[in-house]
């Protein structure tokens, strides 16, 4: 499999960057020029090339703001998400250097240089299309991986307090790259913005305290905010968006002040990892993996360590993530038409999507069901009959939606 994203300045045809993942050769300048040429040439004839389907993949052209053309090539992967990938890549470019810069492209060399800092995040985005690798940080392009824990509500209060103290607005807490708790107005942020912030935190792994200027593509594409990440414990980070003040050194003191009493709380929450679900929620032994998506909040919780006594063989466990993800991306997403890219919403109108769906193979069975905002995907042993599958998934959904320990 291979995924590649190429960015070209639409007018001048100058390549801005190209990033790839997988076993693809490095792309030559002439190839980029030809690919871009195809798009430009057909435009002269009042015709715009949208995409081309290959035997095992596809090529996609997308022009943004009349200044940048993104070309995506994916083979043998989850190419159904290619359009989404380009959307995220474009938003990432704004996130890093601001919308104005991208529209004007005055100093192309400088833009190229500045965009280099977003490569780590870009690589995380590309990972999401690779069906064979397990990425801790970005299993899905458009969903934020989370941990459900009973402590989330208390943590939220601490976060709110912290955000107020640094005169910031949005704050969130990560454990091992998973979102655990958010400040109460965190959902004002667009889902793409939230996802990019999370990837930013993930790419800055290791630094105890760090600030990065960020443009929020929806909220403020032209004025930069400051994203401050701070390491609280091992694998525990807190991120806050704030203005130019206070200085980093001041924030260091505020953090200490706000969080020193919550250490125990965080440690308790940390115990949820890697099961990712509160202990009060139990799973039938025939369920091998479970994914639940809160569609409204674009958050997902995944677990393959469902049974405390069971020692999962690491290989098969990783495989479970892959196959459950593939199921979600190619099929179960149909249950949530909201997750589709907005601009061509005509087709979803005529037929409302399915409410349940399943796959069977010789080794596994998958089942997905949606109730309200929650979508559950479960991986079962192949011996479970289809109707039992439906029953079990439904039970789990009920349990999670009514549980007091679940706080999104």
């Amino acid at each position: 499999m291979s995924v590649m994203v190429i960015a070209v300045a639409t007018e001048s045809g100058v390549p801005i960057f190209s990033r790839k993942r997988g076993n693809m050769d490095n792309i030559q300048f002439s190839t980029i020029a030809s690919l871009h040429g195809i798009n430009m040439f057909s435009k002269c004839h009042n015709l715009s090339m949208l995409n081309t389907k290959l035997e095992n993949g596809s090529i996609l052209w997308k022009e943004y703001n009349k200044s940048i053309t993104l070309i995506g090539i994916a083979t043998g992967g989850l190419e159904c998400d290619l359009e989404l990938l380009l959307l995220y890549v474009h938003n990432l470019m704004i996130f890093c250097i601001g919308k104005k810069e991208i529209e004007n492209l005055k100093n192309l060399e400088q833009v190229k240089r500045e965009l280099r800092q977003c490569y780590p995040i870009l690589d995380h985005l590309l990972e999401a299309l690779d069906p064979n690798s397990v990425s801790q940080t970005s299993m899905f392009l458009d969903l934020i991986q989370s941990i459900l824990c009973p402590q989330a509500q208390q943590l939220q209060q601490v976060l709110d307090n912290y955000a107020e103290r640094v005169t910031g607005r949005w704050a969130c807490l990560f454990i091992s790259g998973y979102l655990v708790a958010t400040s109460s107005d965190f959902y004002e942020l667009d889902s793409i913005e939230a996802k990019l912030l999370m990837l930013l935190a993930a790419s800055q792994d290791g630094a105890p305290l760090r600030e990065t200027p960020v443009y929020l593509p929806q909220m403020s594409p032209n004025v930069a905010f400051r994203a401050v990440t701070c390491k609280l414990l091992a694998d525990v980070y807190v991120l806050v968006i704030c203005g130019a003040t206070p200085a980093l050194s001041e924030i260091d003191e505020i953090v200490l002040h706000c969080w020193e009493n919550s250490a125990q709380l965080i440690k308790e929450a940390k115990l949820m990892y890697p099961r990712n679900f509160p202990i009060s929620i139990t799973f039938e032994p025939c369920i091998l993996g479970f994914l639940i998506v809160n569609i409204n909040r674009r958050r997902c919780v995944f677990s393959r360590h469902l049974h405390s006594n069971q020692k999962s063989k690491s290989m098969s466990g990783l495989h479970r993530i892959d196959i459950l993800r593939t199921f979600f991306v190619t099929t179960a997403k149909e249950l949530a038409p909201e997750l589709k890219i907005a601009d061509d919403g005509k087709e979803c109108g005529s037929h409302s999507g399915p409410s349940e769906t399943y796959w069977c193979s010789e080794y596994h069975k998958w089942h997905a069901r949606r109730v309200g905002d929650l979508l559950a995907c479960a991986l079962y042993a192949p011996t479970v009959p289809t109707h039992t599958m439906r029953l079990l998934t439904n039970q789990l959904l009920q349990e999670i939606s009514s549980s007091k320990d679940v706080y999104w």
Partner: protein
């Protein structure tokens, strides 16, 4: 090859013809019947398309005149007189046909009027009404309609109605209709103002407006297109407007330079500079090179692009560095269907011309190709009555229907007789007569549904592509054909790949022809071989009247048996297996709502049982007592071992006797057939038949194997049973549960290209809005499931790890989706009680043994179903 020629008394065609002529004169007194009515339509290259529609259909008149105009110089051919040496009954049939023709003639004048009324709408508008027009346009003020000019610059099209005027015109007049006449005067864009002027001065207060319904005119086109070699400008313009296009580019450097159009060998619709594919061909050629060369991906399949705010899909097909492109708007054909369609088109072109290169490099083919592609586009765009997309189920395979065993026997029997071509009935001089063609196989359609195929799978696929893409099948659905004869040379799959694949037998250096004969809603397509043990076809080969009549009489036989009437009602009967056409009656528990009534008595058992009459027939057919007992055993399903023994016995017997049974015609006409030719014939047919046997052996029942093997059935006997049968057709069910919860099914044997499904018009049988919703959901969902299941099917087929497929998707063998009928639709149908939802499943499954097979089922949520079980049940019916 040589040895058999020496063994044989060789007669030159001329000699034998003389014999035939003499005998014909003595036998047949009706001199007219010796010259077939289609003879004057044979084209210079020997091809023939002759169509005659029964007069009670629209547009028959057009066909007749077109035929007369098309007359080419009549050439006397050496073999045409053979026709009269038919069996004695033929004369009578001809007379009957002729008398019908006479009768039709008298109807013609009346029909013409009717036809015109049918296509035009006349609306009377009072001049006293004056509509308020924003544009201060006279026509809007007078009539309340706004007009547009057609792209031809003359015709006026209704663009919109003013709100006050809407009730006057709708629903009879629709937007897009042509305004033809005002008060009987033809109007065009250049004279409209004069006419309006005259009308406003006129004393008469009533104005008659005549509109032409354009949508119906399109249906007529197919027949015209079939007859004409090149399409008229109107059709070309229409296709141009609807963004259809095709292009063939030679990417070879040599020819690229030498050709005036930079390698473009063919382009339709023309002129070149108005064809968007031609204008942007550089993009596709570049992409086609770039993807495999620089990006190291596979070749491009389909590109989607937006042109004039329409989404268009362009499909690619490459052969020897040449690129063939085919573009259709996405509103008619989606990406997946287009991929299938382009392979069909390529197959069809190869079938007709040998290869893409041979087809497009000959300049003389251009007119024929224009005709061909206009038919392809028209059948894709306007094929269906509804403005619907091309269905997945229309493109993936040949649509076959389940028929009762006795009907299958009947049909197979008729075709077998044709294939046998046992001439001993018609001439005593068998020894002196060498046949012109060997019938390789034939397939029979009724109203677009395949009844039986005796062709090899690959041949059937190509034959079907030809019939479907040329609109012949669709034509046979819409029209009651009186006579249809088509003849042309083809290049079979076997011949094209003769160097590539190894057969146990040798393909002769011969030529192949297809003969398509139609009557009523029947289409019989026959593949014939000249060469090998028959006479060699040299030069231009027009159809032989003898073989045309032979095929016609085969169809005739089906009419004699009453199969036409039987099938017409059978296709409406919804019985094998029965579908649930009124979903409203099902409750959440899968029971009927109220009165558990009459019907449930008949269909209480969920398992399949043979009707008594079927059993009788089988008894009659099985001469061997052993098989009868074996049959009993299967019914009990207990003594499985003994019945296996019986089967193998029967199998062996069949195998040894196959030479005499199936190929008796060889011993009849060519008495001392050489070993080589016999081997070949046996090889090819036995191949097919052995395959059939292998396939059916999975179903573990004796009676399955008996189909079509009964050549000694008494026709009159069957006829009685046939006509009597329909009253008490046994209703078959394939789902579990008390009530029938099956809404629809599709069984696709992708290897063979055959698709078993209920009749295509099944959703018209039900008046329920919910059912229509279910079916349309089923059709769109099937496409998605099919696409996903292909990963696994492709993987199993070539096992190549080099092809970087998504490994996760390879293992999926069953894929199901649960849908809910929207609440507002339920409310409309009066089902909005207690907020109860109505859910149904669409499930697809791959069954990979023995050959890949896909089953799609749509059923009510109440009773869980096992798809393997349903597939098993279906295999008994199919």
């Amino acid at each position: 090859m040589n040895c058999y020629k020496t063994n044989l008394q060789y007669h030159s065609p001329c000699d034998s013809d003389n014999d035939w002529t003499e005998s014909s004169d003595s036998k047949c007194t009706d001199s007219e019947s010796s010259v077939p009515e289609w003879d004057s339509d044979v084209e210079e290259d020997g091809e023939l398309t002759f169509i005659k529609v029964k007069a009670n259909n629209v547009a028959s008149q057009d066909a007749h005149t077109a035929l007369l105009e098309n007359c080419e110089s009549f050439k006397l051919r050496t073999d045409f007189k053979r026709s009269s040496t038919r069996r004695s009954t033929k004369g009578r049939i001809f007379k009957a046909l002729k008398s019908r023709k006479e009768r039709n003639k008298s109807n013609i004048v009346k029909k013409k009027e009717y036809e015109e009324n049918n296509k035009t709408v006349i609306v009377q508008v009072s001049k006293s009404m004056i509509f308020t027009s924003d544009n201060n346009c006279q026509i809007e003020k007078l009539f309340g309609i706004s007009l547009d000019t057609h792209t031809d610059g003359r015709t006026l099209i209704v663009a919109d109605f003013l709100p006050e005027a809407k009730p006057i015109y709708t629903p009879r007049v629709k937007i897009g209709y042509h305004l033809q006449k005002i008060n009987g005067i033809e109007v065009y864009s250049y004279n409209i103002n004069n006419i309006l002027q005259r009308i406003s001065e006129d004393v008469d207060s009533q104005v008659k407006l005549m509109f032409q319904d354009v949508s119906e005119q399109l249906n007529v086109d197919i027949e015209k297109l079939l007859l004409k070699t090149s399409p008229d400008n109107l059709v070309t313009q229409l296709l141009k407007d609807s963004m259809c296009s095709t292009l063939y580019i030679c990417c070879n450097d040599m020819e690229y330079q030498s050709n005036d159009d930079k390698g473009v060998l063919y382009c339709y619709p023309r002129p070149f500079n108005q064809n968007f594919l031609y204008n942007t061909r550089g993009a596709y050629v570049t992409l086609n090179h770039l993807a495999p060369e620089s990006l190291r991906t596979s070749k491009p399949l389909v590109s989607s692009l937006v042109h004039n705010s329409a989404l268009i899909n362009v499909a690619y097909a490459t052969q020897n560095n040449d690129l063939f492109l085919f573009a259709v708007p996405n509103s008619r054909v989606d990406v997946l269907s287009l991929q299938i369609i382009i392979t069909d088109i390529v197959q069809m072109i190869e079938f007709l011309y040998g290869s893409l290169k041979a087809c497009f490099t000959k300049a003389t083919n251009v007119d024929k190709l224009d005709g061909l592609f206009s038919r392809v586009f028209v059948s894709l765009l306007f094929g269906k009555q509804k403005p619907d997309r091309v269905d997945f189920q229309d493109v993936v395979g040949v649509h076959a229907v389940c028929l009762p065993l006795e009907v299958r026997i009947q049909v197979d029997d008729a075709i077998t007789e044709l294939e046998a071509a046992d001439y001993r009935e018609w001439t005593d001089e068998v020894e002196n007569f060498q046949r012109m063609y060997t019938v390789i196989g034939a397939c029979l359609y009724y109203s677009g549904h395949l009844l039986s195929s005796h062709l090899q799978d690959s041949d059937l696929k190509e034959m079907h592509a030809y019939l479907k893409l040329n609109g012949i099948l669709q034509f046979s659905v819409q029209k009651d054909i009186e006579k249809l004869v088509m003849w042309r040379e083809v290049f079979t799959n076997e011949y094209r790949n003769r160097n590539k694949c190894e057969h146990d037998y040798r393909i002769p250096d011969g030529r192949w022809f297809i003969l398509v004969v139609g009557r009523g809603h029947f289409i019989l397509a026959t593949l014939m071989e000249a060469g090998g043990c028959t006479e060699d076809a040299v030069g231009i080969t027009p159809p032989s009247p003898f073989y045309v009549e032979e095929c016609e009489s085969c169809v005739e036989l089906l009419f004699d048996v009453g199969l036409d009437r039987y099938l017409a009602s059978w296709l409406k009967s919804n019985s094998q297996p029965q579908l649930q056409l009124s979903p409203e009656i099902l409750t959440k528990q899968g029971r009927k709502k109220e009165n558990i009534s009459l019907k449930s008595d008949i269909i209480r058992s969920a398992t399949l049982k043979l009707s008594k009459s079927q059993l009788d027939i089988k008894r009659r057919h099985n001469s061997s007592e052993q098989i009868n007992t074996g049959f009993e055993n299967t019914m009990q399903m207990a003594h499985s071992t003994s019945h296996h023994n019986l089967y193998s016995q029967w199998h062996n017997k069949y195998r040894h006797s196959s030479v005499d049974v199936s190929y008796s015609e060889d011993s009849g006409s060519v008495k001392s057939t050489s070993e080589i030719s016999e081997d070949r014939v046996i090889g090819r047919r036995a191949d097919r038949e052995q395959k059939c046997r292998r396939e059916s052996s999975g179903s573990d029942s004796d009676w399955d194997k008996q189909d079509g093997r009964s050549s000694n059935v008494d026709v009159s006997d069957i006829r009685k049973s046939l006509l009597g049968e329909l009253d008490n057709v046994k209703i078959q069910r394939i789902t579990a549960g008390d009530e029938n919860v099956l809404f629809h099914f599709v069984n696709l044997e992708s290897e063979r290209g055959i698709l078993l499904a209920p009749v295509a018009t099944i959703d018209n049988e039900s008046s329920s809005a919910i059912y229509k919703y279910i079916i349309s959901t089923f059709r769109t969902t099937c496409k998605r499931i099919h696409e996903l299941l292909q990963h696994g099917i492709k993987f199993k087929k070539n096992h190549t790890p080099s092809n970087p497929l998504n490994k996760m998707l390879v293992g999926v063998k069953e894929y199901g989706m649960l849908f809910e009928v929207p609440q507002d639709l339920l409310a409309e149908s009066g089902l909005h009680k207690k907020n109860e939802s109505f859910s149904f499943w669409v499930v697809g499954r791959v069954i990979s043994e023995p050959a890949a097979r896909e089953l799609y089922v749509c059923y009510h949520d109440s009773v869980p179903q096992d798809l393997t079980e349903i597939a098993y049940m279906l295999s008994y019916l199919g």
